[in-house]
Symmetry: C2
Subunit: 208 residues, 2 copies
Amino acid sequence: MHRLEDLSNNKRSYTSGAYLYRTGDCFKSLHAIRSGSFKTRVLHEDGREQVTGFLMAGEIIGLDAISTDHHTCEAVAMENSEVCELPFNKLEELSRDIPSLQRHLHKIMSREIVRDQGIMLLLGSMRAEERLAAFLLNLSQRNAAHGMSGAQLKLHMSRLEIGSYLGLKLETVSRTFSHLHESGVIKVRNRAIEILDFPALKAILARP
Amino acid sequence: MHRLEDLSNNKRSYTSGAYLYRTGDCFKSLHAIRSGSFKTRVLHEDGREQVTGFLMAGEIIGLDAISTDHHTCEAVAMENSEVCELPFNKLEELSRDIPSLQRHLHKIMSREIVRDQGIMLLLGSMRAEERLAAFLLNLSQRNAAHGMSGAQLKLHMSRLEIGSYLGLKLETVSRTFSHLHESGVIKVRNRAIEILDFPALKAILARP
DNA sequence: TGCAAGACTTGATATATGTCAAAATGACTA
DNA sequence: TAGTCATTTTGACATATATCAAGTCTTGCA
């Protein structure tokens, strides 16, 4: 596993709003997010766009590009962030020698597929309030997994971006936040969200 | 590449409606569809479900399960079908020796991620008619890729299943089919669809 | 072949979310 | 610090899709 370190000494910084890659860019490396966060989005010919993910520290970004050797979406930093470059052919080479790395890489890719299936379920069959509840709980969980608070969330994305991700208009996102705020489930102060009543938030999801 | 054949001599048949695997099943093998077609769907606690894919001959099924060694969705045959079992640890073993196979496997997984992103775009930002147009064009393209007609489609799934996949109710699917039929873009006779006007169908997608 | 169950279509109506608009708030810059 | 611009909230209204309800058509089985 020490050989992995050869791979990971190449760190780069991105300021908020900077592109990690754009649609069509040639693919050479995956990137591990060391700090900060990124959003990914796909673009349709007619200017339509869809945010497909919000990624934070510890997560791997760029898996879409392996398919065609070109990026099929773009990744933008949502705050000042650091990534570690993982040249993909080195990764493949290493994973031929190290079965546990190979397995790990496969699991990472598969996990992304599972994550996308979850979003499809959300987009295909949930109402606005359920989508937002699922979104907040997911964020909370990932925050907690990094030793940060599960209750206090600092959103680095706008209502517009949340809307795009959840298949809602920004006004609907705003209204739904307000509604959850009024019912005492969460506290909303601009982009700082506090989850006050976890069971209630989970109950929104559990009841179809 | 001949060693691949060792892998692929294990064929199995599934009658229409039979499960290839269920949610929670232990994962051992991917499956290559030799003939026929399958649908995959994810289940939510509250009985909610979402069809996440319709797979046909030549496609690989089961990639979701690598993540946890257990299947996170279920796969059901939509007609009498044959699959070829690909034991995953043998696949990993072989791909350590054969870089081109390794690369191929990675591309297959990445392609699935890209496909899912496309569905997220569809579910998140398209109207009913656009979703159905995208669905039909995709089906047509895959049909044509297998040497079959791109214009004559035989649907193996019900309106309910199409609706689940596209995030619509079955009535909306039916109405939208009827509408496309009336406007002369397609001809609908039960599950036999004929695409009469490709440019018109594509135009529905291009105009936001 | 005929019957029954499921699949599909179509209509009337309800509703969640979108659209348009304006005001309020917050953030950045000069 | 003030001023400008972007973001967010909130309201009134529009609309796409969902829901409920018949009714018709297929299909598979007896």
